[in-house]
Symmetry: C2
Subunit: 333 residues, 2 copies
């Protein structure tokens, strides 16, 4: 009998041939998108590792209870909030893909910030409608924000935060950042704890949310926190919609039109991120929104898949994988 290779289940298209070939040297790679549901379900009890983009429907609670060999889950996405941590068998290691999209998301975040700061959408749309003179815009221009000399606050200093801090420094801004780990980065002042967050929110002209959505960060920015921010601050969200309390945000933006919110991420409804918000945010002139387009840019380039494969190979070779998720951040007791 031939030696049984360990089984790795890849559950979405997007892997390059080179990535799959590389992975095959360490495991028997099963490509679920080439199989019917029944065949996939039949093989689940033998699977040791799964690489996934969206959470696959066949990994239901019931089916997972049959996955006795499951030890390792690698996500292609950075955020792991879509993983059903409560249903996972104990001892399964979950790895995020932190850093895989840092450049793409960082660039997108800076685009959102500048679009809001320079009122690019509002003025562009008014020009498109027609009938306006250049002089008629002078009044609207007074609340254009010049970034030079201002303060950038970064909540969650991972790969995206690091990218954005480089841009902020090139734009002549001071940079503050919050992070749980005691990181350092050139030219960035780190703050800690609740008092750190309060200070960051109160002095920053622009605030970037780039932290994972965990039980600690869910609704981190509510009425109280918005109230601490500068009246004409710009809040940029490239993390997850649910870090912000939607009702409080809407009330704050209506009450203060000089406050701006620019986001690439949306709230979850019935388990799915959706553009259908409870409050009509997109109708507000101080709102800028894009449809989670920052991440897929990176996906198109294939790098996130390559990084996910690399990390899975690390696990298979017995090397400590990167980006191991602390499950207690997500599981509620």
């Amino acid at each position: 009998m031939a030696l049984m290779l360990r089984k790795v289940l890849a559950t979405s298209e997007g892997f390059s041939k080179a990535d799959l070939t590389r992975l095959s040297k360490h495991a028997d790679v099963i490509e679920s998108w080439r199989m019917d549901q029944q065949s996939v379900e039949g093989i689940l009890p033998e699977v040791e590792a799964v690489i996934l983009l969206a959470w696959p429907s066949f990994m239901s609670r019931e089916n997972m209870s049959k996955m006795r060999r499951l030890r390792f889950i690698q996500t292609v996405m950075v955020g792991v909030n879509h993983v059903p941590f409560h249903d996972l068998p104990k001892g399964v290691v979950v790895c995020s893909n932190a850093g895989a999209y840092s450049v793409e998301v960082g660039e997108h975040a800076w685009g959102l910030l500048l679009a809001a700061a320079k009122k690019i959408i509002q003025t562009h749309d008014a020009i498109k409608e027609g009938g306006r003179s250049i002089a008629s815009f002078r009044g609207q221009v007074k609340d254009v924000l010049v970034l030079e000399g201002k303060t950038m606050g970064i909540v969650g200093f991972g790969g995206i935060g690091r990218e954005v801090s480089k841009y902020a420094k090139a734009f002549g801004m001071s940079v503050l950042a919050i992070n749980r780990s005691r990181k350092t980065a050139p030219g960035v002042r780190f703050l800690y704890g609740e008092r750190g967050l309060e200070h960051l929110l109160s002095v920053s002209d622009a605030v970037l949310l780039s932290a994972p959505l965990t039980k600690t960060t869910e609704r981190l920015i509510g009425e109280k926190e918005l109230g601490m921010m500068k009246k004409d601050a710009i809040l940029v969200n490239v993390a997850r919609g649910d870090i912000v309390d939607q009702g409080a945000l809407y009330a704050h933006m209506v009450a203060d039109p000089s406050f701006r919110y620019a986001t690439d991420v949306w709230w979850f409804r019935e388990g799915r991120e959706t553009l259908e918000t409870e409050k009509p945010l997109a109708t507000l002139p101080n709102f800028v929104g894009t449809p989670h387009t920052s991440g897929p840019t990176g996906l198109a380039g294939g790098r996130p898949f390559t990084m996910a494969v690399d990390n899975t190979i690390r696990y298979l070779r017995g090397v400590k994988p990167k980006n191991v998720v602390d499950v207690s951040d997500y599981r509620r007791s």
Copy 2:
């Protein structure tokens, strides 16, 4: 009889009290906006220097012929293409206000580039219209441009070009630049002449126009030059609309929807910059336009007025003023 102070005419509001007080130590400052037209015209023959924002209507060809003492004109704007060089008495020194808006315009240019690169306006407006899912945008995302690793070409490397080159480097781009003067700047590769421009246009993923509008740069970018550019390049204009041939641009953008044009500046019609274009550019999905809002941001801060006053004081004290315009760049023979 008291010593006659030299007369400086300030022709628009916006000067701070401090600026006017400083200037008054060197000259008799006449604030034309506080006077009626007849009184202003009466004083013109005694005026030695003029500081102006827009070209004042009372400085008509006929009236200028009476300004026998006129020696110095300082503009608050950076561009001097609104100055009627043909009608100016010989020997009058004209100074631009180069550098006064570099940060504001540079930041705005980067906002335009990112808005076009990340398709922020198109996706925002589609979300605002409603009825779309996040997944439905995946197709549109494929031509999002990631700036890292790409090439930025800067046509006209003054203060704005220098600012933008700093941003481009922070974004991990290679930077090429064209300039008449043999400038250097860290990390920027300078090219010269027509061949230099051709090379820059053909290899750059994003091209910034930040040169003055002179008889050399008028319609610098026409059908031939657009044809040299990469198919999916982004052309950003923060200089003057008339550097680009509008008809050729429109035809190019219609023929190739992946080519993008993002502008804060507009073409002149009957001597005025106007949002009313000959071709319906603003209706194109690959067009981003703002209503010359980058400069006035700087104006609101007062710095351009302060810089204009400082340079006028240099002239009055007999020190060589900065930014003296080479009149031959503007006067056609």
